[in-house]
Amino acid sequence: MSTKQELAAKLLEGDRRALSKAITLVESSHAQDRETALALLDSIMPHTGKARRIAISGSPGVGKSTFIEAFGEYLINAGKRVAVLSIDPSSSLTGGSILGDKTRMPMLANNPAAYVRPTPSGSMLGGVARRTREVIALCEAAGYNTILIETVGVGQSETEAANMSDCYLLLLQPGSGDSLQGIKRGIMELADLIIVNKADGVLLSSAQESATQYMRALSLMQERMPGWQCPVVLCSSTEKTGQSETSAQIDAYFSHAQASGAFTQKRLAQKLYWLEDETIADLVDRFKRDKSIQARYAEAVKQLESGRSPARIASEFVSLLLNNSQKS
């Protein structure tokens, strides 16, 4: 795989190693790698966009990994090729990460129709999400028609996950009505489909109760897509129940979205967002890499000593940069 053409060709053939190397390439923080990565992404663009992109969210401990393991197996048995990406795995204080996805999804880790690739969060500029979008494209080019994006269920990564997926699954625990208050309303509003997980054994009846409560709560919220009332599905990853219903609801969601035109609209909006987000992130990147800008920034920092307002200094600094670039 000496050249990028070769890498692109292998990737399009669905070569596992090419996909793996291509992901490393787009995730690389190296400036030269970035050029190669951009060229690769450009060349595969016509072969992307055909997969269903499904975000899977929920608080830690709700059973996302076991859900993905069971649901992924169901999809593979139905003939799908499944890629699993995690958006924000745990990272230690020093920047290293422990990536345990393979231990949590042992079947998918070894199934020929699946590809599980956790991304260390590390010190990546602009957040992991920025690269996840690109990794999704690579997986699509390699022939994966279902992309499952696992998120941590809190904070900024949720909106980002929603911004790069077609369908947003929210996993919830069975529990009393109190648990409903624990869930941020903002996250409930993102959901296209709610899964009440661990609906088995002693938790089954409380799962059923919770489902009813969630449905009631959802009926008071605005529809995220016109004409689509977010359904609530009971699932047990250990007893392998609820997978076919989840799949049927996702099918229904996609046919509704496609028929109403919402799907095309959403994809277009996401592409615009991608462009905007990448423009800003790239600006910041270059800003930080450029030695002469950094030198001037150091001068701006010095001005703090004079007691001027940081806002004023920043504004002048940016104006100076923009004027300079207009002149050159």
Partner: protein
Amino acid sequence: MTHFKHSPYQDWESLALKERRKEAPDEMLHTTLEGIELKPLYTAADLAEIEYHESLPGLAPFLRGPRATMYTGRAWTVRQYAGFSTAKASNEFYRKNIAAGQTGLSIAFDLATHRGYDSDHPRVEGDVGKAGVAIDSVEDMKTLFDQIELDKMSVSMTMNGAVLPVMAMFIVAAEEQGVKPEQLSGTLQNDILKEFMVRNTYIYPPEPSMRIVSDIISYTATNMPKFNPISISGYHMQEAGATCLQELAFTIADGIEYARAARNNGLDIDAFAPRLSFFFAIGMNFFMEIAKLRAARVLWAEYIDKLFKPKNPKSLMLRTHCQTSGVSLTSKDPYNNVVRTTIEAMAAVLGGTQSLHTNSFDEALALPSETSARIARNTQLIIRDETEMTKVVDPLGGSYYIESLTQSLINEARKIIDEVEEMGGMAQAVVSGMPKLKIEESATIRQARIDKNEDVIVGVNKFQSDDEQQLDVRVIDNQQVRVGQLKQIDEIRSTRNASVVNSALKSLSAAAESNSNLLEAAIVAARARATLGEISDALESVYGRHQAQNQSVGGVYGRAFEHNEQFMELQSQICEFEEEHGRRPRILVAKLGQDGHDRGANVIATALADIGFDVDLSPLFQTPEEIVRQALDNDVHIIGISTQAGAHTQLVPEVMTLLKQQSMNDVVVICGGVIPPQDHAALYEAGVSEIFGPGTHIPDAAANLLDHLK
């Protein structure tokens, strides 16, 4: 005769402060790993805090021993754990040991057997006969006990996952020797909860696994009055890094859970509790270990009395087997291990154990050789017969320090046990992952203390010797064992009555779905010559196979190394690497084969992540194909293979071949764990870059890895 005045405590204290050059008494305290504060001196005044210092041996709560006369009447059972290769080879070894003074047998099974696989299963290619004896059918079991009188010899079997086929085959082998179940004495380990916590040699999910345990307890309560159906084991917790306190508390909590399960199965507490037995590890913290055994007896008596109200005092009596600590043994300067084992064995004896296994000094390297096994056994015989330690019951009873330490352990353990009980008992706690995480945290702290030379291990992090002794260790040709086992399996399959086997297996599956006793059904299948794998499969078809979820502790190791120079140097090297390569060094920490011990792998993973590596963890029990696939998918720089049970000789070269086939020649492969020196050459030749033994200093190893990536 001169008379000295009774000196006040303060006089001693001011003297002590002067000698130690300290200001306040608090500065002289030492905090143990357990979090217990030790004073430099204990006196009669401390006895005021002791609840049971006037208790007597043989009487509840058995602080001073379960029997009134202890070793003055009869010494402990010398029970050496052994097993390797074929049933025939192990049998010969057992008979030699019995002739040389061993008084009980303790069978080690290979990992294929533990995990419910026949020797011909594709997943176990590297494990057959390696870390124990390979058993596929009742014929193997008969060979194992050939010329050993099962009505006289007490037999302990370390088996947890595949308990049903193994126990069934044992009963049938005895039956065909003319020995009835009620004549059999011995112990089945059968402690599945700790498997989910630390050792990972389970087969089925927790719930059906607990049912299997209680079915066996029910069966033995009715049919085998001299047999201990369970050995509630803390041993493996300590081996996995638990402190003595955690081992103590979680083991008692496990025991409570089993008692509850048996009672819920309809048994009266007095019908089974007297036959529940325990198994503890004895490590190098001499007095702590003695106190632990004494505390365990008190706690057991208290909780059983409180929760189950037995009528028979024997139900309150904790009887235990002990084994010296395997994890305390070092591969460097291995003769030091003879000394370590001796100290540990003395602690077990002074703590009042009922039977004892002493480790062989070469066990950090391989299975014991004939010589090392003899020295290990003689360690016990010397303590028993040469030292007069056996002449008085509980000789340390009444020691201010021992009694205080015992009381501290009792107090602290009660808190943990009560916390577990509040969670709904140990089965619930285990499912939540709480005990496993706590133990892993302790393991990581301990590793950091050793790596920082805060805890000394002679010959490893201090007083290293340049004199590298080459030991003659036992080598198992697992391919040869496997070929023999395969032939035997074929023969059994061609000579048995297939329809009888099938109907027995069907009844077993049916029993799994109903309430009938599983051991009874398994005995019928074993008698019909169903294999171990077939019996396991019949249950797996109903219960499924359990897959563990890995949780790991982050930051614990790194915090211990804050501001450490070597640590910071490594972190800056990693930053340089990242600048050059666009990402951090990425390593797949992989468990190959059927060995489930994952403390080493987990500690390494969390330490490397804290140093700054990106660490992928493989699931347990992987094949070479699976490891290579995961390395490829995650595009790692390094594969780190953890191996404790000998499967590396077969499986690591397979990994190397597969890497070449995938043109992944740039991936650096390293191995860690228990790897005999004579295997090193072959591994290096296969392309392995480094081999790290027990006691490896992790920051040094990390620096070494970074060098390989340059």
